[in-house]
């Protein structure tokens, strides 16, 4: 039976390799979670804007229009809208705008926002220096704040033959209530938030 034993050793080795592959793929799946965020940040995938410490580009004479859009998830009892609908700026020029958030409920609420820019291909040239969206925001009952965003559009967009036809870029935010802050029971908050959505979408397209 020595050949039989060889057989079973070879079989066991093959099966072990297969199981290692399976374990590796499970590992890769979970590794893909942070990797996915990283890929989006680096490549601008899905319209993810860039982030920089400071603006080191030269200001170009070429102008571009940036529109501001705001959305609120129904779990968040906030009013949230841009303070200006759009702005026309020079490429490479740093610009400070702000969004106004108002907590319409009678309790402190923490929100977090997701963001992207369209057209998607412009994302890798849209660079934020400072943004309220980098962190969670907590508003006291009835509190109203202006939330700043500082950004510039990299003039390198002119050298990208696929993106240099872009005349208008839309910067969009959606505010959610953070998962940790969501109360266990929230029936009346939902109905309250339904009204909020209509007001908050003024200023979006």
């Amino acid at each position: 039976m020595s050949s039989g034993t060889d057989f079973s050793r070879r079989n066991r080795r093959t099966a072990t390799t297969a199981f290692v592959v399976v374990a590796g793929m499970v590992g890769l799946t979970f590794a893909f979670v942070p990797l996915y965020t990283l890929i989006c940040q680096v490549t601008g995938l899905g319209g993810t804007p860039q982030v920089a410490e400071r603006n080191e580009t030269d200001v170009s004479t070429q102008e571009i229009t940036v529109r501001f859009d705001a959305n609120v998830d129904r779990s968040l009892p906030w009013d949230f809208a841009p303070n200006e609908a759009s702005v026309t700026i020079n490429l490479g020029a740093e610009y400070l705008t702000s969004y106004r958030s108002t907590n319409l409920s009678d309790e402190a609420v923490t929100g977090i926002s997701t963001f992207n820019v369209t057209p998607l291909k412009a994302a890798q040239y849209f660079t934020k220096i400072e943004c309220f969206c980098f962190t969670e925001q907590t508003l006291e009952p009835g509190q109203s704040v202006d939330m700043p965003v500082t950004f510039y559009i990299d003039p390198a967009i002119l050298e990208d033959e696929l993106a240099n036809e872009v005349q208008t870029i839309t910067l969009s935010y959606t505010f959610y209530r953070t998962l940790d802050d969501i109360p266990d029971e929230e029936p009346e908050i939902i109905s309250e938030a339904d009204q909020v959505i209509t007001t908050a979408q003024v200023g979006s397209f």
Binding site: R12, A15, M25, I112, L162
Partner: protein, 550 residues
């Protein structure tokens, strides 16, 4: 595990354990293959019954049957329609096509084709099968508990998350897929080990039959794709139950992450369902043309390249999520590239028939039907591969028609082809030719009447996954439902004839198909004895199953 099961029994070749323990504790690849096939038929009856419900509902505008059924199930009509669609899809993918092609025919014929006495790990084979019935029960529970899981087989969050379906039904579906996935991974490991290590002496990989190649590539795809589904399902499960936020933007997650992970599994999954079919069809076309397969190596490597490229095309399922134009261009290009190896296969089948001595027996009819229908589905696939077209046609009945042509008609036709091809070998009985032909023609007409009009409905803009539609779509939907009735009648006829033949059929011979059948399973008696190839056949001097040239 120290020895294979080869010599566990005496020299009595037909010594089989008796009673329930033969099946519960089975380590025999043929018995396990049979159990997989029976399991697949049972699941097909449930899944097919659900599809008939869907077609009855869509036969005319308005809500016909689901208001009653929904109420009976403690749910609501539209939700239960979605539950039915979801259960139909999951059943057909995981509990009909995969068990039949891989677990059923793979278990039965891969060891025999390579001259091995059994699978490499017979007891692991047993657990692979016995994970499936609990998975099926969990899936059925996911449909009947609470509201039912009405997420579609793609389980996209937030619909599949707590926000969309808060009760336990989706958790049942997730656990069901976990079990089915574990079963597939164990089965795949077994096939890979068997095929790599246990081929008869002299049978190099380049001499292995194409069904063996197909099963090997399928097993590799399973090994790489299934863990990704398992990982993603685990994330969804923890999102639902343990407060994580992989797919929830409120906690820093991203619902699109699910779509990427799901389709990274999902696209290889469609090749997992079709590659074994390619293998079966190759054998049948060759057998009934009395010619070796044209371009054998090209056929084998075409399957391998389909498998490899299948892993880098996933985002063509999600063109509409807001994807940059460069990414769309990439996914269009690689997706269309898959048409090249697929075309090689279609042309090689035709070239195999070309100049052959063709006999249009039942298995050959199903195989040719497969080639025709798969080509139709392939052509609409190339249409949908174009991002610009797909954005217009995304989630319309055009897509439904496309994937039913490649899967429902492609994979299922190949399953029937394999069933008729190997029926004598598995049961030892002769299937009456007239019954097979009648079954083929009624099914062929039925499914075309069923699915071809759905192209028109899709092009006209009818979206999928809705219980109702505007009156303008009524006529073609009515035609489609007639097709479903014809197909279902044909299937009932098939089941009755098969039962009669298995009880009272004529006895068959070892090789009913003649000179064209050159693989090793035709060298043993029909039905195949409980133990085969305890004395390993020798390929070093050429194929012992080949018939001398006339």
């Amino acid at each position: 595990m120290s020895t294979t099961a080869t010599h566990a029994h005496d020299d009595d070749h037909n010594h089989a354990p008796k009673g329930i323990s033969r099946w519960l504790n089975s380590t025999n690849h043929k018995d396990i293959g049979t159990m997989y096939l029976v399991f697949s038929v049972v699941a097909a009856l449930v899944g097919g019954g659900l599809s008939l419900l869907i077609r009855i509902e869509l036969g005319e505008p308005g809500i016909q049957v689901f208001d009653v059924i929904g109420e009976m199930m403690g749910s609501e009509a539209k939700q239960f329609y979605n539950v039915t669609v979801t259960a139909h899809a999951l059943l057909m993918v995981f509990f009909v096509v995969m068990p039949a092609l891989i677990g059923g025919f793979g278990n039965w014929f891969v060891p025999m084709m390579i001259g091995a006495p059994d699978m490499a790990f017979p007891r692991m084979n047993n657990i692979s099968f016995w994970l499936m019935p609990p998975a099926l029960i969990l899936l059925i529970l996911s449909g009947v508990m609470g509201q039912g899981a009405g997420t579609g087989w793609t389980l996209y969050p937030p619909l599949s998350g707590l926000a969309g379906q808060p009760d336990m039904s989706v958790d049942f579906a997730i656990l069901s897929l976990h079990l089915a996935g574990a079963s597939s991974i164990l089965g795949a490991t077994n096939f890979i080990t068997t095929i790599l290590n246990m081929r008869a002496p002299g049978m190099t990989m380049h001499k292995a039959p194409l069904f063996v190649w197909a099963t090997l590539i399928t097993a590799v795809l399973l090994l790489l794709a299934m863990p990704v589904l398992a990982g993603a399902l685990t994330m969804l499960l923890t999102d639902r139950n343990f407060g994580t936020a992989f797919f929830d933007p409120r906690g820093g997650g991203d619902p699109l992450l699910w779509q990427h992970l799901f389709w990274f599994f999902g696209h290889p999954e469609v090749y997992i369902m079709i590659l074994p079919a390619f293998g079966i069809v190759s054998h049948i076309v060759s057998t009934f043309s009395r010619k070796p397969v044209f371009g054998y190596l090209g056929m084998a490597y075409a399957m391998a390249s389909i498998g490899i490229v299948g892993f880098v095309v996933w985002a063509h399922h999600m063109y509409t999520v807001g994807m940059g134009v460069n990414y769309r261009a990439y996914f269009v290009a690689v997706t269309m590239a898959i048409a090249v190896p697929t075309g090689i296969k279609i042309f090689s089948w035709i070239a195999t028939m070309w100049g052959g001595s063709i006999s249009f027996k039942t298995p050959m009819m199903w195989a040719i039907g497969f080639i025709f229908l798969f080509t139709v589905g392939g052509v609409t696939g190339v249409v949908l591969a174009n991002a610009g077209m797909d954005i217009a046609m995304h989630d319309t009945y055009y897509v439904v028609a496309h994937f039913h042509y490649v899967l429902s008609l492609g994979a299922i036709f190949a399953i029937f082809a394999g069933f008729y091809y190997w029926f004598d070998k598995m049961t030892g009985k002769v299937y009456p030719e007239w019954a097979g032909q009648l079954h083929f023609w009624t099914t062929f007409i039925g499914v075309n009447v069923l699915f071809f009009p759905q192209h028109f409905l899709g092009l006209a803009g009818m979206p999928r996954r809705y219980i109702d539609y505007p009156d303008i779509f009524a006529e073609w939907n009515m035609v489609s439902t007639w097709g479903a009735y014809l197909t279902m009648t044909s299937t009932v006829f098939f089941l009755i004839v098969t039962l009669i033949v298995m009880i009272a059929g004529r006895k068959s011979v070892a090789n009913p198909w003649g000179d064209g059948a050159t693989t090793l399973e035709w060298t043993v008696a029909s039905p195949a004895p409980f133990h085969t190839f305890e004395d390993t056949p020798d390929f070093t001097g050429g194929n012992p199953a080949a018939h001398p040239a006339e």
